[in-house]
C-alpha cells in the first residue's frame, strides 16, 4: 500500500473538480486529482454503440424509482454531456421547495452568481448560437412553438461550432474536440501548473490524517481498466484541503461511508436529492404535417426525418419561466436527442405502451421522433440509503449499476410534470402535428442526467450539508463543489451553474489552504481556451 501527501486533494475531475484543481495549481499548491474513471482523448471516443465503448465512460445507475446517467472518466460529466450552457433564471434561486423558506444561501442570487457565470462562459468558452446552428429537430420545435403562439430560442452551447460536425454522438465523448469539455481547458491548465491527475483511482473513505500538518487522509483503490469492479491496489493520500467532487451520486456515498472516521457528518448528506425535475417525452411527428402546417422542408426534400441529425440540444422555449408563476409550475422545454439506447422507454398511446406490436411500429418511425426534455421544479425528495462496501454503487455490468438512492415523486413534483406535459401537448399536438408521450417509468423509474442536491449548500444546518462557501459543516477544509452542492432544481441544464459555483468556491478553498500553510494565492487568469 502506498502512502503519500499533497496540499490539495481533488476527488473527481468533472466541472466541480477540474475548476478548483486549476485555480489551486495555478496559485502554487500541490494538487492531486483522483478520478474513478479512465482517461480518454478525442481519438479514443468511438462513434459506436457496441458494448465496451460508451459504457466505459458513462454509467447508468438504477436506484429505487430513479435512474441516473453519469460520466465516469477524466473530465467527468463534461466529457459526455450535451453542452447546453444556460444560466438558471433568477427565480430558481428564490425557491422555497419543501422547506417553506428560501433554499439557497442568502449570499447567492442570480445577480451574485452572474460574475461567476461570466467567467466560465469565457473559459469554456460558451458559444451563443443562431438559427443556422439549430438542428432539424430544434427547428420543428421552434416552428411548432411559433404556430402555437410561443417563442423559442437557440440554446447556447459549450461547443466550437466551427469544428462541430453535427454527428450527434455527444454521449460517447467528442471525436472532433469540438465539445469544450474539461479535457480542453481547466484540466490541461491544471496539469501545466503541476497538478497530477490519476485515472482509475476510486476514493473509498475519508478520515482525519495522522500526518502532522495534514487535515485529512483519503483511502483509495486503483481499479482494473478492464473491469471496474476489480481492485488492482490500494493507497492512502494525506491532504491539507480536500475538494470532493465525485458527482451527486458519488460524493454523498463517500461521505456516508466516512461518517465514523470523520466523527459524524451533517444530517443533510444524502438527503434532498433531486433529478433537476427532468421529464423526457417522445413526440411521434407526422411528416406530412411538418410540411403542411409548419411549412418546413429539408434541402433533400424530406420534411423532417431528422431525429439523429445534428447536436443533441439546439432549441428551447423560455415561455414557461415566468417568475410570477407559482413554484412547481415553471419549466424549460428543450429539444434533445438520446441515442437509441433509450428507445425502450418511448411509449405509444395504447397498452402495453412501451413494448409490443404498436411500440415496434413506433420504432419504425424513429427518424420522425422528436425528443423533448422538460426541466421542472421538483421537491428534492430523493434520499440515499446505507452505502455499499466500496464504490458509489453495486456494479452489475460495465456501465450499469444498482445505486442506493430512492426517489418517489411527491404530488408537487408530479404536478410540475403534468403541467409541462400539458404545455408540450398544446404545442406539438395542435392540429395533429404529433403525438406526445412521456417516457415510461416501468423499466427505469424516472430518468435523469442531471443529479443534484445530495450534499447541498444553504444557511440552515438542518436543510443543508454545506455552508455557503461549500465547506462541509463541522469539517474545516473539506469542500464539496460538484452537482451535489446545487440546492434545488434549476429549470435549466445544471452544468453552467455547477461550474459557476465551483469558480465561486475557489477563494474559500484557497483561504483554508493558506491556513494550513500552503503557499498558494488566488487570482490566476482563466485557463487559455
Amino acid at each position: 500500500m502506498s502512502e503519500e501527501t499533497t496540499d490539495v486533494l481533488v476527488i473527481g475531475s468533472g466541472f466541480g473538480g477540474a475548476i478548483p484543481a486549476y485555480h489551486l495549481a495555478a496559485g502554487g499548491a500541490r494538487v492531486t486529482v483522483l478520478e474513478r474513471g479512465p482517461r480518454l482523448a478525442a481519438e479514443d471516443f468511438a462513434h459506436s454503440m457496441r458494448l465496451g465503448t460508451y459504457n466505459r465512460i458513462v454509467d447508468v445507475i438504477q436506484g429505487d424509482g430513479i435512474s441516473v446517467v453519469a460520466g465516469n472518466c477524466v473530465g467527468g460529466g463534461s466529457v459526455v454531456y450535451f453542452a447546453a450552457s444556460l444560466r438558471a433564471p433568477a427565480f430558481a434561486f428564490e425557491r422555497s421547495g419543501s422547506l417553506g423558506r428560501r433554499i439557497w444561501p442568502a449570499a447567492l442570487t442570480r445577480a451574485a452568481l452572474d460574475p461567476w457565470y461570466e467567467r466560465v462562459e469565457e473559459a469554456l468558452p460558451v458559444a451563443r448560437t443562431g438559427w443556422q446552428d439549430v438542428s432539424y429537430a430544434g427547428g420543428v420545435l421552434a416552428a411548432a412553438c411559433r404556430r402555437s403562439g410561443h417563442t423559442c430560442n437557440p440554446v447556447p452551447v459549450a461547443v466550437d461550432t466551427g469544428r462541430c460536425t453535427n454527428c450527434n454522438w455527444m454521449l460517447s465523448g467528442c471525436r472532433f474536440d469540438a465539445k469544450r469539455s474539461m479535457l480542453l481547458n481547466y484540466l490541461p491548465g491544471a496539469e501545466a501548473h503541476g497538478a497530477v491527475i490519476r485515472p482509475l483511482h476510486e476514493v473509498q473513505l475519508l478520515g482525519p490524517s495522522t500526518e502532522s500538518g495534514y487535515r485529512y487522509a483519503a483511502a483509495y483503490t486503483v481499479l482494473d481498466p478492464g473491469d471496474y469492479s476489480c481492485t488492482a491496489e490500494v493507497g492512502v493520500i494525506h491532504a491539507k484541503v480536500v475538494v470532493l467532487a465525485a458527482g451527486a451520486v458519488g460524493s454523498p456515498v463517500i461521505l456516508q461511508r466516512s461518517a465514523l472516521p470523520l466523527g459524524g457528518i451533517p444530517p443533510a448528506v444524502g438527503r434532498y436529492f433531486s433529478g433537476n425535475g427532468d421529464r423526457v417525452s417522445v413526440a411521434d411527428v407526422d411528416e406530412t404535417k411538418v410540411r403542411t402546417l409548419l411549412g418546413l422542408s429539408r434541402p433533400d426534400g424530406a420534411a423532417y426525418e431528422g431525429l439523429p441529425i445534428g447536436r443533441p440540444i439546439t432549441a428551447a422555449t423560455y415561455d414557461y419561466l415566468d417568475p410570477a408563476a407559482p413554484e412547481y409550475s415553471r419549466f424549460m422545454l428543450q429539444q434533445i436527442y438520446f441515442p437509441p439506447l433509450t428507445n425502450l422507454l418511448a411509449r405509444t398511446a395504447s397498452a402495453p405502451d412501451w413494448f409490443g406490436v404498436a411500440k415496434r411500429s413506433l420504432r419504425g418511425r424513429w427518424p420522425s421522433w422528436l425528443t423533448l426534455l422538460a426541466m421542472t421544479e421538483d421537491d428534492n425528495e430523493g434520499t440515499f440509503g446505507p452505502p455499499p462496501l466500496t464504490g458509489g454503487f453495486l456494479r452489475l455490468a460495465p456501465g450499469l449499476g444498482r445505486g442506493t438512492m430512492a426517489y418517489h415523486p411527491t404530488a408537487r413534483t408530479r404536478g410540475g410534470w403534468n403541467t409541462a406535459d400539458d404545455a408540450l401537448r398544446a404545442i406539438l399536438e395542435k392540429d395533429g402535428l404529433a403525438q406526445v408521450r412521456p417516457w415510461s417509468e416501468d423499466v427505469a423509474g424516472t430518468v435523469t442526467a442531471h443529479p443534484i442536491g445530495s450534499v447541498r449548500i444553504g444557511d440552515d444546518p438542518a436543510g443543508s450539508a454545506l455552508s455557503d462557501t461549500h465547506e462541509l459543516r463541522g469539517h474545516t477544509g473539506l469542500f464539496v463543489t460538484d452537482g451535489s452542492a446545487v440546492p434545488a432544481s434549476l429549470t435549466v441544464n445544471p452544468s453552467l451553474t455547477i461550474a459557476a459555483l465551483a469558480e465561486r468556491a475557489v477563494p474559500a478553498i484557497v483561504f483554508r489552504a493558506r491556513e494550513a500553510a500552503v503557499d498558494v494565492t488566488y487570482g490566476a487568469p482563466l485557463p487559455r481556451p
Binding site: H47, S48, M49, R50, L51, L86, R87, Y117, E118, R128, W131, Q132, D133, V134, S135, Y136, G139, A142, A143, C145, R146, T151, C152, V155, T165, N166, C167, N168, W169, L296, R298, I309, G310, T317, Y318, D319, L321, M332, P339, P340, L341, N343, L344, A351, P352, F355, G356, V357, R360, R363, G364, W366, P367, L396, A397, L400, D442, V443, A444, V492
Partner: protein, 228 residues
Amino acid sequence: MTSRDMRRRDVVTALTATLTALAAGQVIRPGAADALGSTGGRAEAAGESWTTQTLEAFADTLIPGQRRYPGDLAVAGAVTGPGAVQAGVVDVLTSPDLPLAPLLPEIAALLDARAVAYALDHLVLLPVTSPPFVGLSFAQRTDLVAGLFRPGTPDRPVWQILGLVTGLAFDTAATLDTAQAVAAAHPGLAWLHFPPPDADGLWRFPQFSYGRALADTHPATTASGSPA
C-alpha cells in the same frame, strides 16, 4: 362438477405433468450458457435449449418479430419483419461484455415459474413439450410481462435488466460496431432507419438545419443567450 372446475382440473393435471417431466429430466433443459451460444438466434428448432427458447420468447414479447421457420415456438409470429430475436438478443445476453450468461438459466427458470403460476391463475393448458412461458400465447405472454414490470413485483429488477438488454440488442446492435452493423443491415438498426456513416466510419451531417429563423426569441433573453 361445473365446466369451470373441469377446466381447472385439466390445467392442474397438465401442469403436474410438466413439472414431473421437468423434475425427472425427461424434458431437456440444459443450463450451461455455452449451450445458448451454440444455438442462439439460429433457425434450428431441435437444438434450442429451454433457456434459449424462454429468453427468446420474452424478448419477442417486448419487440416482436416474424417466425424464423415453420414451427418456431419461441417467436410468436405476431408481426412480419424483424424483432429482438432476429436482432441477435441471445448473442447480446451471452456476450462476454456482460456478466449475464451464467445467470440466464436461473432467469429463464424464474420466468417459466411465473408462466406456470400465470397458467394456473388463468386456466391455461400448457403443453409439456415446450417451456411454460413459450407455451403461452402472444396475448398471454404480453399480459404476464406487463405484470412483471408493475411496481412492487419482487423480482422486477431482473426483468428491468432483461428488458434493457433486449432493447440494446434491437436498438443498438450491442455486440457490433455500429458502422459495421449499419453496413450489414442489422435488423434493428435497419428497422430504425439508423443513418449510415461516412466512408471512414464516422458520422457527419453537413446538412442539419433549416437554416432560418423559425420563431421569435424570448424578449427577456440575456446577452449570453440565457433566460433572465
